[in-house]
């Protein structure tokens, strides 16, 4: 079977949806020359009317997408840098997200916000290394963080077809992942459906985005001492609580690894829900970035604030001992 890279999966999803639905168009900074590589070849296939380069006006072009969506289009907005979402938070959370309710259901706002390269890319420092999916989950904006090329394809397709705004965080740490995939099997992945990547019976590890691959490696490492199940929510809002409940029912133990700041993060929400709903046989644990972390520049400092495999292995061992 052919190899599909994560980047190519994003590219293929955009191309397939542009071909399928004339209402779809892509806009953002440097999308015509495809600086992020995600829109490569789309200008030639679909033309400048559907692959639109914008000035460096994040607030305006994000609001512009809302207006185009209100008029029947399905815009895909690419953000080269995750922190640009802070500039456009007003336009996404306070405008696009609120239109359906505020108008009493008169309109939908089917916009997809695509962030290829969220989280730390070594050496990009404080303002280019955030991974702010938790903010959007908190606000109630549909938010996906695919871990694999197949899921990246399937979730982008579903996001574009969804009638609500959806933010797609493609982690920088996953962009180089490749998978041996039969292209004919690529298909939409439903929003809100988690996936068990590895079955286990002693502990459930909830891993988000690129950390799924770290969790799988740690599960392999610990294979002699523990049977680790790896649960990938894929969508962080709405979260697949029933899928996680099924997993925890089998294992009775829970660890969450979440590459985001600790307070009010997705890991915090998973643990809170576990406390309310799940019968755990041991206190759960989470591995996250530190509270309020700003990613420092020097590579060793950058790595120091990201969850790593040792921390995860330690957390799993501790939960298994309790």
């Amino acid at each position: 079977m052919p190899w599909l890279s994560y980047r190519k999966a994003l590219n293929r999803a955009l191309g397939d949806e542009l071909a399928r639905d004339p209402a779809v168009f892509v806009l953002g900074e440097d999308v015509r020359v495809a600086v992020s590589n995600v829109t490569a070849g789309l200008l030639g296939r679909f033309g400048p009317e559907r692959v639109v380069d914008t000035p460096l006006s994040e607030q305006a072009f994000t609001g512009f997408a809302t207006g185009a969506a209100l008029a029947g289009m399905r815009p895909v907005v690419e953000f080269q840098i995750p922190a640009l979402l802070f500039l456009a938070f007003e336009q996404i959370v306070n405008q696009a997200h609120k239109f359906s309710l505020m108008t009493g259901g008169q309109t939908a706002v089917p916009v997809t916000y695509l962030v290829p390269g969220s989280g730390s890319r070594a050496g990009w420092a404080g303002q280019h290394s955030d991974h702010p999916y938790g903010l959007f989950a908190h606000a109630g904006v549909k938010t996906v963080v695919p871990a694999t090329p197949e899921d990246a394809y399937g979730l982008v397709v579903s996001a574009i077809r969804d009638d609500d705004p959806v933010v797609v965080f493609a982690p920088a740490g996953a962009l180089d992942v490749r998978a041996d995939v039969d292209f004919a099997t690529l298909a939409p992945v439903a929003l809100g459906a988690g996936r068990v990547h590895r079955q286990g019976s002693d502990v459930t590890v909830v891993a988000i985005g690129h950390l799924v691959h770290d969790a799988l490696a740690v599960a392999d490492e610990l294979a002699g001492e523990a049977s680790v199940e790896v649960f990938d929510p894929r969508t962080v809002y709405p979260f697949d609580w029933d899928g996680l409940a099924d997993s925890v029912r089998r294992t009775g133990r829970l660890v969450v690894v979440d590459d985001a700041n600790r307070t009010c993060g997705v890991a915090a929400e998973v643990l809170a829900t576990a406390a309310e709903r799940f019968d755990l046989t041991a206190p759960p644990a989470r591995v996250t970035r530190p509270d309020g972390a700003v990613v420092p520049f020097a590579p060793a400092l950058d790595r120091a604030v990201q969850p790593d495999r040792d921390q995860l292995a330690t957390a799993i061992r501790k939960v298994l001992q309790d």
């Binding site: 006006s57 607030q59 207006g67 185009a68 359906s100 939908a108 009638d163």
Partner: protein, 327 residues
């Protein structure tokens, strides 16, 4: 000034009068507690909405502001359902989910009033781009106040609209104050200068005269429909009432009494009313009175929305999040 038929003058006057009486009755309903949260009265600025919307086709679209009742009514929304929305009733335009600051009627091209100053500008540009791409000749109007001209997103949107020659009218209602801050204390340069900087034809008109606004809006609409791109119209007007009805109790003072008296001395009702015969004016006044009476009766007799459905329509797809008590 363009020649208008007696019927056209009467139509403009009817809209001005409708907005005025609607707002006056709405303020009474605020005082009576029937409208919760207060309103931003449009009183005094009626000529802008009436004149600009008279230049539009039914399928053109508008976006509005926190002070938006006038635009919504001028674009043709049913006064009964607008007032019911202000009163938070299930029969309101937005089924009681939006209120005074978010009134919308998508069937009439009213893409919503918006409570964040300047935020409607890029939305309007996006809707205009979609119209241009569809080639249906529609134009989009962004109404905003003098406060919005200092928002970066508005300036970014002027740039986009000019760059892509979008069929947009940027209609600035300069009522002299951004909440309580006078234009002289807030705006460096000029408002039309904002447009001219981007190569957008920009004009200042008498915003107390609906015919002057209509004239300027027609020129701008013709330019937009024929592919000539956006225009900016600064309508110099005066807000007769408070920024928001909370001022009626808070008694903040920021406008000198003589300024208010002078501002109110030129009333769009009289400017346009003087163009009608006394008999016609009385006839329109009586019609409007019955429309507004009917709206008040409708709003106050309408059911309140069911709290069970508070978050109906939060998602267009019908997604339901978890309830707040964890059930």
């Amino acid at each position: 000034m363009a020649f208008l038929s007696a019927a056209a003058h009467a139509d403009l006057y009817r809209v001005v009068r409708l907005i005025r009486r609607f707002e006056e009755r709405a303020v009474e309903l605020v005082r009576a507690g029937d409208i919760v949260g207060g309103i931003h009265p449009y009183t005094g600025q009626e000529a802008v909405a009436a004149g600009a919307c008279a230049a539009l086709r039914a399928d053109d679209v508008i976006t509005s502001t926190h002070r938006g009742h006038g635009h919504v009514l001028a674009k043709g929304a049913d006064p009964k359902r607008v007032l019911a929305e202000l009163a938070g009733r299930a029969t309101g335009l937005n089924r009681g989910r939006g209120g005074s600051m978010h009134a919308a009627d998508f069937r009439l091209g009213i893409l919503g009033a918006n409570a964040i100053v300047g935020a409607n500008a890029p939305i309007t540009a996006g809707a205009a781009w979609a119209a241009k791409r569809a080639g249906d000749g529609r134009v989009a109007v962004s109404f905003f106040g003098d406060g919005a001209v200092n928002q970066g997103v508005l300036l970014e949107s002027l740039n986009l609209a000019a760059l892509w020659r979008l069929p947009v009218l940027f209609v600035c209602e300069n009522n002299g104050y951004a909440t309580t801050l006078a234009v002289a204390d807030a705006v460096a340069g000029t408002i039309t200068g904002r447009g001219e900087a981007f190569g957008i034809p920009s004009a200042t008109v008498d915003g107390m005269d609906p015919v002057a606004v209509l004239d300027a809006a027609r020129t701008a609409v013709d330019r937009a429909r024929s592919g000539g791109g956006p225009s900016l119209i600064e309508c110099v007007t005066y807000r007769f009432d408070a920024h928001h009805t909370w001022e009626h109790r808070a008694r903040v003072r920021y406008r000198p009494d003589d300024e208010v008296l002078k501002g109110r001395s030129r009333d769009p009702l009289d400017v346009q009313g003087s163009r009608l015969s006394d008999a016609d004016r009385e006839r329109v006044d009586a019609e409007v009175e019955s429309v507004v009476d009917e709206a008040v009766a409708f709003a106050l007799s309408s059911p309140h929305p069911d709290p069970e459905g508070a978050l109906d329509d939060l998602y267009a797809t019908g997604l339901r999040g978890r309830p707040g008590d964890g059930r």
